[in-house]
Symmetry: C2
Subunit: 225 residues, 2 copies
Amino acid sequence: MSAVKGARTKRMPRAVREQQMMDAAVRTFGQLGYRAASMDEIAELAGVSKPLVYLYLNSKEELFTACIRREAQRLTEAVQAAIQPGLTADRQMWAGLEAFFRHTQENPDGWSVLHRQARTHGEPFAAEVARMREEIAAFVTVLIGAAARQGVPPAPGATGSNRSAELADRDVEGLAQALVGAAESLAGWANEAGGISAKEAAGLLMNFAWTGLGGLMHGERWSPR
Amino acid sequence: MSAVKGARTKRMPRAVREQQMMDAAVRTFGQLGYRAASMDEIAELAGVSKPLVYLYLNSKEELFTACIRREAQRLTEAVQAAIQPGLTADRQMWAGLEAFFRHTQENPDGWSVLHRQARTHGEPFAAEVARMREEIAAFVTVLIGAAARQGVPPAPGATGSNRSAELADRDVEGLAQALVGAAESLAGWANEAGGISAKEAAGLLMNFAWTGLGGLMHGERWSPR
């Protein structure tokens, strides 16, 4: 029996087995937290021996880092894949937000690793998430910048100067930071509150942010007077 | 000479001396990070002996916790003090955001302690910040809920159903989470990018968020079609 099992183990490519270990690790880290998660539990959940986990992924720290990187890449790819170049600015934003909330909802453990665990357990892990965040913010900055330059046609009945917007690069960057912050805050809340669909969360953020962003692109400005 | 110095030390009330130690600690933690900051440096900056710091604040962990609590309270109070009940919803939001960005800009070390350091160095510290965040989100939820119930009069030329809004409680809570996330993200970015005034940051976020929130309160809804 053990020879057969050994043979089976051999036949499974290393990359596949590594992904299985990381699946088990993301689930364990996401649900128990980084500190409380043990390599024993991860190995058991992955159906492999603990030495094999160490052989493939070296240490709990490196395993956690590998999990952060994988989950960050998957999230970034899910958002980028949803945004088609031909769409109008609001449809792009809607598609990106829906993909973001769907992905974080379907992968609550992965999102917990990125949003809670990685940030809470020291600089090297937090820096991994900060890198992902910068990448997404840079991507959103390009989208908002492109939309602003396209000059969305004025909305019917729009107030303000009605010119196509002339937003400073720094403003566009700040708006992207605001949108990313709003989205991650809302995703954390939606996953904890429960019972909120990805479409509802994306719709809520569109209603919060789009008319604001959309208004800006039509040249509208809010003013204290 | 040392007798005179001792007498002076005695005359300074404990509460005052504790605040001086915490001023030095916030500056050191904020600028060097929690790990790198040493009790020696903090004592030196506060102009006291290291044993006195330990006598008053027990340990680096407790000193850090005291700093988080003080900075959280100061920030929360600054925002709450700025919001006057008689103002319209958009003026309240503007006043709150301006106070938030002014406070985080004038206290960059305190903000770094709350936004970066406390979140990155383990659950007990992160939980302190989470508590402050919940308090602010609850406060913002009340404000948005009150504004929505007041029924802001329809904007001139507003599209949509133009009814005063009927936002579900859960939506109001989600919107508050989005606003808090956007504000903290923007404050982090503004402090790192530099050269952005509190007024500019608050104006950017009003332009991002208000027309969206304001539109919602006029019964406007964004829709994918």
